[in-house]
């Protein structure tokens, strides 16, 4: 409050300063009672300068400013649209590449599996054949050995008969002093063997 009271002479001075001006305006420029808006004598001048100002602004905006702004906005819009389209096509290319990669991978995998299967089958037939051959050879060897054993056995058995006949004849000779014909001894051995 003290400040305001201190300031009041200054405010008074300012008020006094403006007062003559206001009075000069009021008296000097004659009958200006009532709303200044209704001072008809100013209308012609207002309209005249309004027309000049408005037409000037219209020409400046319509032919200089608006085309420039529109141009900038249009450039930006087309640039953004172009960039978006480029991004979309790049994405499409990437997708296609991914798909191609997947297909190639799948293809390689199938081919690898097929190749493995084929190789495995080929190796199996080969080993099977080799095993068959070996088995056959073994079987043949076995059969031959069996045959030889049988032959040897027959020979041995016939040798046994001869030895038995001779032995029997000798025994008879020693015991009885009689000689036994080889044929009689032989048939006796046969008879004993048959029993």
């Amino acid at each position: 409050m003290a400040i305001l009271t201190a300031l009041s002479p200054a405010i008074l001075a300012v008020a006094a300063e403006t007062a003559p001006h206001a009075e000069a305006a009021a008296h000097g420029a004659e009958p200006k009672a009532g709303l200044p808006q209704l001072a008809v004598e100013t209308f012609a001048g207002q309209l005249f300068w309004l027309a000049i100002a408005f037409v000037l602004l219209y020409v400046l905006l319509a032919f200089v400013v608006i085309p420039r702004i529109r141009n900038v906005l249009e450039t930006r819009r087309s640039r953004i649209a172009g960039d978006l389209a480029a991004a979309a096509s790049a994405k499409e290319a990437a997708d296609a590449a991914l798909k191609a990669y997947d297909a190639a991978l799948n293809d390689a995998r199938t081919r690898g599996r097929k190749l493995g299967d084929e190789t495995r089958a080929a190796v199996k037939t080969e080993t099977d054949a080799a095993r068959h051959a070996a088995e056959e050879k073994l079987n043949a060897d076995l059969a031959a050995a069996d045959a030889r054993i049988a032959a040897l056995k027959t020979t041995a058995m016939s040798n046994v008969r001869t030895v038995a006949a001779e032995t029997a004849a000798e025994i008879v000779t020693r015991l009885t002093g009689e000689t036994v014909a080889a044929n009689d001894a032989g048939s006796a051995v046969d008879a004993a063997l048959a029993r």
């Binding site: 409050m1 305001l4 009271t5 300031l7 009041s8 405010i11 008074l12 008020a15 006094a16 403006t18 007062a19 001006h21 206001a22 305006a25 009021a26 420029a29 200006k32 709303l35 200044p36 808006q37 209704l38 001072a39 004598e41 100013t42 209308f43 012609a44 001048g45 207002q46 309209l47 005249f48 300068w49 309004l50 027309a51 100002a53 408005f54 000037l56 602004l57 219209y58 400046l60 905006l61 319509a62 200089v64 400013v65 608006i66 420039r68 702004i69 529109r70 141009n71 900038v72 906005l73 450039t75 930006r76 640039r79």
Partner: protein, 256 residues
């Protein structure tokens, strides 16, 4: 002492600019006045704002360029929404109206300035121009059929003698409402500011406890000034929107 202080209406006085010669044409005083001066300042202000803003015309706009572009797109969207794509033919006119009114309003808030849009003759001239453009566009596009604007669809025939005069009156009152709305808003706001200012001075110089009371109208001035900035933009926008709507009537007649 109150008498010594300029009245709240003095700010609206039109007087010739002292440093220029008087100018008369056919006995009519066409001198360059403070009103003319502030109209020209508005023209220069609008042009400077937009030209400087768009000077670099950068792909990625800076602050000022963003403001210029936003203003442009704001009005362009308003016109497109209210008057359709065909209404965009009149975009330069509506944009000029908006910018002119906006800058006249805003510069009018500067101390010691003058508000051209606080004068009914100025706003009425602008509104009348809009009105005439609407009628011309309507007549050129639809011929005599344009007057079917006064016959709303779906109204029973016996009501027409009542409805048509009402529609005609409402159509004819458009330029009046358009101009009075703007003028009255500017007049009221500036008068209020001045009245508050007078309170501050008279209370401040009254002495004693009254001097402290001067704070209240001072705060009032701050609030009203903020409000007036809003009103300045809003009224310019309302002017542009109504112009778009009226043009839409003329372009599309009954389709809306």
């Amino acid at each position: 002492m109150l008498k010594m202080i300029a009245g709240p209406m003095e700010q609206f006085q039109v007087h010739p600019v002292s440093w220029l010669p008087r100018f008369e044409l056919g006995g009519v005083d066409l001198s360059f006045t403070n009103a003319s001066l502030w109209m020209m300042i508005a023209v220069i202000g609008v042009t400077a704002f937009l030209v400087i803003g768009m000077a670099r015309a950068a792909l990625v706009p800076g602050r000022l360029q963003s403001m210029a572009e936003l203003t442009y797109e704001f009005i362009a969207n308003t016109v497109r929404q209210n008057a359709g794509e065909e209404g965009m033919k009149f975009f330069p006119l509506i944009f000029t109206l908006f910018m002119f009114v906006l800058f006249c309003n805003l510069f009018g808030l500067l101390p010691y300035s003058f508000t051209p849009t606080s004068h009914i003759i100025v706003t009425f001239a602008l509104a009348l121009m809009v009105f005439l453009v609407v009628i011309l566009v309507g007549l050129i596009r639809h011929g005599f059929h344009f007057f079917s604007l006064f016959v709303p669809g779906g109204v029973p025939g016996w009501l027409l003698p009542v409805i048509v005069p009402i529609e005609v009156i409402s159509f004819l009152s458009r330029p009046i409402s358009l101009s009075v709305r703007l003028f009255a808003n500017m007049l009221a706001g500036h008068t209020m500011l001045k009245v508050f200012a007078m309170f501050v001075v008279s209370l401040g110089t009254a002495g004693g406890i009254l001097s402290a009371g001067a704070v209240l109208p001072m705060l009032g001035i701050v609030a009203v000034t903020a409000l007036e900035f809003l009103v300045a933009g809003l009224q310019a926008y309302v002017f542009a929107v109504l112009t778009s709507i009226y043009l839409n009537d003329a372009i599309h007649l009954h389709e809306h």
